[in-house]
Every structure is written in C-alpha cells, then in structure tokens.
C-alpha cells in the first residue's frame, strides 16, 4: 500500500468551477519553501510512524501548477532526502497531480515533467463536451469557459501519459450531458473515466430518473459501439449494487486519516477536505503541524471508523449498498454536530439510479457476449481502471 501525503501548495486557481468543494480559495495562502521543507523533514525523520510500503507525494491547490517552481524544489528535495536518509520510500514513490490543465504546455512544467516522468501521475480534468465542461469549469472573474484552453493540451498529455484517466464530476446541471460527455472524452483518446456525482446535497426530486436515463443511454452507446472492450467508465462495475454484510463488509469507504495533508500555514490535516477552505459549516480538523508533529488523539476517530457505525439504518439494511460512496469530509461538514460518525445520504437516490443502469449494462453486455460466444474472451481481457481514488 502507498500512503498519500498532499501538499496544498496554493489555494489559488485560474478557474472558479461551480461545483468545487474548495469554497475558501484565495490567492494569499501560498506555501513557502520553509514550510514545505519543515514538513518534509518532519515526515522523513519519523519513518517509524509512516510505515506504508510506498508513497504518493500529492500536490493540490487551487491549481497546483501555479506553484511549479516550489513543486520542482520540493520534489528535488524529496528525492535527495529519501536517498540520503536511505528511506524505504525511495524504492516506491510517485508525484501525483490533478490539474485543470491550463498551464500544461508551459516550459517550466514540461521541464519538470521531463525530469520526473518515471515517477509522475498527472490527471487533467476535462468534464466532457465543451458545453458540459464550460457549464461549470469557468474562469474566475470573466466566467468564460475553459474547455478550449484545456482540450488543446490533451494530445501532449496523452502522449506523455498514454494510460492515464480523467475524472468527471456530475453536479445537478450536468445530468443531461453525461452520455455525450463520456463519449466525448473517449473520443479524445482517454480510455479510463472515473465519474461520480458530487456528494453535496444538491439533487432534487426527479434528478435520479434523468440521471438513470443518461447512464442507461451511455450503457447502450458503450456496448453498441464496442467501447466495453478497451475503455473503462466507473459507472459500470459488477461489484456495485449488492447488499453488504454488516460484519464482513464493514470497512470505511475513504482513506481520510490514513492520508496526510499540509497547508501553507504548516498545519496537518487527515485529508484536504478537512482544511478550512473546503468546509462550509465546520471548523478545520487540524491534527498537528510541522513544529509539533501529529496529535494522534485527533486521528483516533478516523482510524476507528467503520461503515455501519456511521451509517443510518436504511444504509445498513440497503439491498444495493455496495459501491455507494461517501466523502468523510462531506459527512463531517453536513453532520448535525462536529462528528465523523453521521453519514450524509444526499446521493442515495442517485446511487440507486446508478445501480439500475449498471444492472442494465451488465445484463445487456453479457447477453450480447453470450450470443456472440465472446463472454469468456471478454472475461479474460476486460479493461481495468488505472486510477487511484481516495
């Protein structure tokens, strides 16, 4: 297993995406080299506390590549320190980025990519067709859509990272464009699409039916045009939509508490979603800082989380519970009191709609393959996602 440690290098971004959960973005909180170095020194000098086999050094913003000079310096220092300390992570490390892709062709970034290509994972977020992408992913200030400025960078990105995927986020306004967006992204040459509804309480009555209609249409498109052979879409997964045993399948969904995020002030968080800039109604869940280290008491509630304790009875009894995700940060933010133990269920109807469309997909696909005598071949060669999701 790899641990994920995230540097929140800036809270600034060129965009002001409408669905962004980072509601407190600003251009003032930029990480200094001193804070970054202190964080690295703390982490690498406490090897016993970080025994995971490998490490994903993750960089987030805002838009992380606005701080490419700092990132380059951090990565150089990390490599040097992991090597000179003979740290076990030197054998298994990655630098990971999710970017809006706007600066992708800049000289500095390309130089950085060339230098670190063997240890890099970069995901450019493209939300689908131009109209879908520009519905949410707009420039700060002007409100102009960012699609054209991103899509021109996709060919170079795919050339450098041919197996990567992208993430598509579905908010309420995006529902009518799901099918065309996934197909558009496939058309750009991206074969791995992770797609999910936002966890916030934004969906209204009837949205689930429209959503189901779209995902079902997407299923038809993928099957009828043969994309199922070598493309992946996270909406369609055979493990989704089954009941979960309350004893044997009681694990928590996300990795909050097993990850670590560091912000510009040098504070540590169990995940970026617990930093103040991503919380609407609750106070930041700070678990320490670069000077004092980690307060393990503040991590205990995370490390004790299981599915059933935090779930309402309707989720425990749910016949289609598997694959129903939650975000621990959103749970905390939406809870009636400051607790991790009250699961938000705003996506309940959307999950059930996804399950129905997912069932349709597999029933249709397997019937087709069986009639064609190709099921066995498909089972042996089915495409798998390369994306690591929290």
């Amino acid at each position: 297993m790899r641990k994920t440690i995230t540097f929140i290098v800036t809270k600034d971004c060129q965009l002001a995406c409408k669905y962004c959960y980072l509601i407190g973005k600003n251009n003032k909180e930029r990480m200094s080299w001193d804070v970054a170095k202190q964080a690295i020194d703390y982490i690498l000098s406490h090897e016993d506390d970080f025994q995971d086999e490998g490490i994903i050094w993750d960089f987030i913003g805002g838009e992380p590549f606005l701080e490419i000079d700092l990132i380059d310096k951090i990565c150089d220092y990390l490599k040097e320190q992991m090597f000179t300390r003979n740290h076990h992570w030197f054998n298994d490390y990655m630098f990971s980025f999710t970017t809006n892709g706007l600066n992708y062709q800049s000289e500095k970034l390309q130089k950085y990519i060339a230098k670190n290509i063997d240890h890099l994972s970069i995901t450019i977020t493209i939300d689908g067709t131009e109209r879908k992408h520009d519905l949410n992913r707009i420039y700060k200030g002007s409100g102009k859509g960012s699609y054209k400025d991103v899509v021109k960078n996709i060919p170079l990105w795919l050339k450098q990272f041919p197996t990567v995927g992208t993430k598509i986020t579905i908010s309420r306004e995006d529902i009518p464009y799901i099918k065309e967006s996934v197909m558009h992204v496939y058309g750009l040459g991206i074969t791995d699409v992770h797609i999910n509804c936002v966890f916030e309480d934004v969906f209204k009555d009837g949205d689930d039916l429209l959503f189901e209609e779209q995902v079902e249409a997407l299923a038809d498109e993928i099957i009828d045009n043969g994309y199922y052979k070598d493309h992946v879409c996270s909406f369609f997964d055979e493990s989704i939509g089954k009941p979960l045993d309350p004893v044997k399948r009681n694990n928590n969904w996300c990795g909050a508490g097993r990850m670590l995020s560091i912000d510009a002030a040098g504070n540590f968080y169990p995940c970026t979603r617990f930093a103040q800039y991503s919380l609407r109604d609750k106070k930041a869940w700070i678990i320490g800082n670069v000077n004092d280290g980690i307060d393990r008491n503040k991590l205990r509630p995370f490390l004790l989380l299981d599915r059933c304790t935090q779930s309402p009875q309707k989720c425990i009894d749910c016949e289609v519970a598997s694959g129903c995700a939650w975000c621990q940060g959103e749970n905390y933010d939406a809870a009636e009191i400051p607790t991790l133990y009250q699961r938000a269920t705003a996506i309940c109807k959307m999950h059930k709609a996804q399950v129905r469309a997912n069932n349709y997909y597999w029933n249709k696909l397997y019937r087709k393959l069986e009639l064609e005598g190709l099921r066995e071949e498909f089972e042996e060669n089915r495409p798998v996602s390369n994306q690591e999701i929290c």
Binding site: N250, N251, N252, R258, W285, R296, N297, K298, R300, P301, L303, L304, L305, D306, T309, A335, E336, I337, P338, T339, L340, Y341, Q342
Partner: protein, 321 residues
C-alpha cells in the same frame, strides 16, 4: 433513555466532574426557569440533581427545590453543605479536617500533581465515607511518566481498599471498587441518560459544554420553551462509540466532553482516558484476586488479564482486512 435532569442553580455552581466552571459572577437560574425545569422533569419522569454554588440561596429557591424528589450536589464550602447528598471538594486541602459523614458521598476534584503528592492523605479518606469519587481535572495533560505515577497511586489505594474488604467492610472508591462490582458499562452517559439545564434556561449535553466558549452553542440541545432537541442523539449512546462498546473498563466515565476536547469527536476517547481507565481496571482486578485469596468475594465477577492499556491498540483495523 433519559433518566436524570441536572440543574445548575447558578453560573458559579460547583463542578463535580472533569470540567471547571468558567464563570466567576453569580447568576442564579431564573426562578421561573427553575420551576419550569421541575415541571419538565415531572412530565418526563426525570430525577433531578441540583448543583449548588458556594453561596447561600434565597428562601424561595430553597422552597421550590423541595417541590420534587431530588438529590443535592453541594460544594464543601457552601453554608448548605449539611443538606448535601454529594459533597464536592474542589481542593484536597478542604477535605483535610472536614467532618465526614460516614453515610455520604464525596467527590474530590484534584489535579494529577496533587494526587501524586497527597496519595497517603487521600487514602485515609476511603474508610471515613460511604463513597469517594476521585475526579481528575487534568486528564489531557497525562504523560507516559504520569501513567506510571498514577498506577502507583492506584496501588496504594488498592492496598487500602483490600484491607477494608478483608476486614469485612464495603469501601467505595470509584476508581477501584466500581469495576469490581460492575458487570456492564456504567458511564456518565451525558446526552443519553442525563441532560443539563443551565442558568440561562437552556439545555446542554452536560455542564461542561455550557461553560465551553467554543462548544456552548453546538452542544446546546434546546430550551424550556421549545423542549429538548438533541442533535445526532444516537451518537451519545454506547453502541455508537466504536472503541468503548468493546471495552471492559466498565467504571470509565466515557466523558463525551473530554472526547470532544481531545479527539474532536464525542464518540471517541483519547489515549489518556483509555490508559487511565485501564490502569484502574487492572488495579481492580488485582484487588479482586487478592481478596479472593482470603474469602469469597464477588464470585460471579471475572476481570480478565489483558496485555494492553489502550483498546485502540487492539482495534479491528479494517484497512488491514
């Protein structure tokens, strides 16, 4: 199920627990609110525990208090201390020379340094009272070294209680004898078993939250006009405390206020709370074993030998399954 209503009669009402009141100015609960609180308790079948300040009360309050069955928690320096069901010492020095009532319960609120330094003095109180509750007021400051010192204090108290048991007496010292007698969790249960009415006429999960500048509003759970509305009510129950529900340190207070303070989540205890409770549990076990060598003693009780002090260390780690 709610069973108790704690009524703080004044902003300076004594603490009888881990928290320290933040108010120094007297502010009595309004007489109308006191009466409304009593009516509320009657309708909800709640037993009232009045918590007194160090000063005297007006006569009309005294008369109102007596209109319902109740118990009185009174600081040792109050002029009304003789009426107390539970006497609170906020300083160990106040207990020295105090005229103990052998049938009364006493709470000694004490910091670790005083406890470590005065264990001999405090040990002498055990035989003089019906029950002594020792309440640490600085749990969050305990270090590994302090745990060792606390163990030494417990050993000392253990010898005293052992001696009394062997002499045919029934001492009650919360940190040792409770676990010997208990067969299931017996925690504070603020928010599920009891609720607090504060001098501002509002309900709180417990007095500590009323005095917490940061958490007062979050853990205010209604008022006398609109009634009780406990948000996320089930989370105050043992079944939703992921560590405590598998624990057998039955005497632990399972203080949701310290949980909130130290781990940010009311459901989860800190390392310090768990270790202290387990040191107590283990001392109880030793006393039980020792007394049994001389006579039949709680024959049904079985406190198992364990090799951890913090159940967090032996939790189910779903991540590794």
């Amino acid at each position: 199920m709610l069973q108790y209503l704690i009524i703080l009669l004044d902003d300076t009402s004594t603490s009888y627990c881990h928290y320290s009141p933040s108010q120094s100015q007297h502010q009595l609960i309004a007489l109308a609110d006191l009466k409304a609180g009593i009516r509320f308790a009657m309708k909800e079948n709640l037993m009232i525990q009045y918590v007194y300040p160090a000063c005297d009360l007006p006569q009309e309050y005294k008369e109102t208090i007596e209109t319902i069955d109740h118990s009185k928690i009174i600081p040792s320096n109050s002029p009304m201390v003789e009426e107390a069901d539970v006497v609170v010492f906020n300083n160990w020095k106040d207990a020295v020379g105090f005229s103990f009532d052998e049938s009364a319960t006493y709470v000694l609120r004490i910091c670790k340094e005083d406890l470590f330094a005065q264990k001999e003095v405090i040990g002498t109180f055990i035989s003089k009272v019906a029950r002594l509750n020792i309440v640490l007021i600085d749990v969050e400051t305990f270090t590994e070294n302090d745990f060792s010192r606390y163990k030494s204090v417990l050993d000392s108290f253990g010898k005293e209680t052992e001696k009394l048991y062997k002499a045919g007496m029934s001492p009650q010292l919360n940190v040792i004898t409770d676990r010997i007698a208990l067969s299931q969790m017996n925690n504070c249960n603020a928010g599920s078993n009891n609720i607090t009415l504060a001098p501002d006429g509002r309900f709180y999960i417990c007095p500590a939250f009323y005095y917490s500048a940061e958490d007062k509003e979050t853990f205010c759970v209604g008022d006398l006009q609109s009634g009780l509305a406990i948000k996320a009510a089930k989370l105050y129950k043992l079944a939703y405390a992921p560590l405590c529900r598998i624990c057998d340190a039955y005497q632990c207070k399972r203080c949701v206020w310290i949980n909130r303070k130290m781990t940010f989540d009311i459901t989860t205890p800190s390392h310090e709370q768990c270790v202290l409770a387990h040191l107590e549990r283990n001392t109880s076990r030793r006393v039980l074993e020792s007394v049994r060598k001389e006579k039949e003693f709680y024959p049904e009780q079985d406190i198992k030998e364990i090799d951890y002090l913090d159940p967090f260390d032996v939790r189910i780690d779903w991540h590794k399954i």
